[in-house]
Amino acid sequence: MSVNLLRRSVDGLRAAGSVLPIPFRVAPLCLILAVAVFAAIAPRFLSLGNAANIGAQVWVLALLAIGQMFVLATRGFDISVGAVAALSSVCAAMACNGWGLPGLSAGALAGLLCGLVNGALVGTLGLQPVVATLGSLIAVRGLSLLITGDGQVVPLDAAGAVTRLGFEPMPVLPASSWAALVLAVGAALLVGRSLAGRRILMAGSNPEAVALVGVDTRRVQLWAYGLCGLFAGFAGVLMTVRAGSGLPTEGAGMELQAIAAAVIGGTALSGGIASVAAVVTGAAFIQVLLTGLNLQGVSPFVAQIAVGVVIIASGLLETLLRSLPSFPSQSRTRT
């Protein structure tokens, strides 16, 4: 009887453990660790103001990382997201000057278009993702320079009203953070609960099998890159909202941070595994690291090194967690 009880409780523990599949445990672990360490060194790190600050800053990176996640899940990747965000930021600012606040959505549209071009190059034409997105990285940077007259910042006419969206707490968070949160939830529903999301994960995990069951992997890739561009566009709009102007040369290096956040968030580079919550946690971890080290007066380059180490360590940690015998590794769709 007691043996039975013991076995049942062990089973229960295992079930509780498998609620959060192995790859998605890395990011929360890193985040908790980072918060604990910074809180221990600097008490003001845990202040409400700092938490709100991080909570508002994280979303540009988080949106870029969510977009990147869709593409990584199909075994591709997109190094143009930083440039696309900058172009979207400019488009949003220009359209907002012309048509008022609804014009901000032009940024998202520009991002979607860039993403669909990437998707057409990779999915429809079958180019290699690095080359296709490198090409669009260069081209999109050129476009941003072109429409802004050699990279000048586009000031918003209604800068006050727009930045209020980005800074004034509505109930708790500023409107921009609420919007980003809604987008993240939408992405999570898309990945976890929709046919499209299932197809994106399938296309990454086993392209041959997916083709055999009649899913057109080219179209799946087209839309994965389209979604990536769309989220980069949202990130660009957010940049505009928070800066009060269109930033044509912003976002260099953001693509690497976005990939880093997505990878720390457990998105498998071999495709098939993705979780929006984990990716957002990964982005939060990077933001905590940057802000925390900044509060300590440590050079931001040290933070860069730390992110690099964490990327590699997250790979090692995943291997380690997987090899622990007590955790069933059923979370992986293929082994």
Partner: protein, 334 residues
Amino acid sequence: MMALTGARPRRFSGRLNPPAAVWVVLLLFCVFALAVPRFASAGNLENLLRVGSILGIAACGQTIVLILGGIEFSFGASAALASVVTVLALPSAGVAGGFAAGAAAVLLVGLVNGTLVARFSLPPFLVTLGMLMVAGGGAAVLAGGLPIDAPPSDAFSWPARGRVVGIPVPILAAAASFVLLHLLLAHTRAGRLWYLVGANGTAARLSGITVWRSVLAGYLLAGAFCALAAVILTSRVASGQPGLAPNLPFETIAACAVGGIPLAGGQGRAVQTLCGVLVIAMLNNAVVLLNLPVAYQQLMIAAVILGAVMLQQAPRLLLLLPVRPARQSEEDRS
């Protein structure tokens, strides 16, 4: 095992079979020679090759990694690290010692990459991306975030500006790199193993090959090529720059892709890389000569890179043949 050491069939077909990218190189050369003033002058061509040689040497390293089914993103950052280390070591170690220290830094990055990929079976994408950030951050920390100038001297500028029998040193170094790469890939056992490991790691392991040793050697050699490129680059900019060459890894990958090397691994020849490098070098040179605004320069570079890659797939694209599904190379290796 015996069959693997025989490189003869490939060598034979390799001679008779110029890659499709050769035609892109010729076409682009003719177009630029006609359309761009001063492009085809001897002075400009020498300049073009001298500038392109750095990309070429690094692309040799990238070729090995791509054949292994991997990818190398840390080149630019490790070149930046090398330049900073070189300049910092200059006062105490002298010119030769400084360059040696810089090269050692790149080799160290290559060793870490190779070890993590080969021994711990981590995805190359992840490892080299992480090392990009570590090496780039390291360079910035060492330099304090700002470029540091090197005291000018003839010996320091020799790798970039010196001449041997009238030929600039960088061009000689690039030529030597391509010859070495060709010999390695087509005529040595190690080269044959890279193809096998890249094409099918499981098969390689099952046929008794120590896969990790082959992979580690590949990443180390890639690091060695990158070290040579870094030495020339440091000498050319005559300073230690933490933000040096951020696009080097992407340009080398683009060069290999323009040359027609698939990123899936198991294929690729030195001559293909050479063609890709020439395309990108000519392009970078021509947009400067045309004196276009930066925005148009970038649009043109993007269009030609994408166009060159698509042109090679023209038969497939015209017939709308399906894309071959991605192979599961990452699994094969683990």
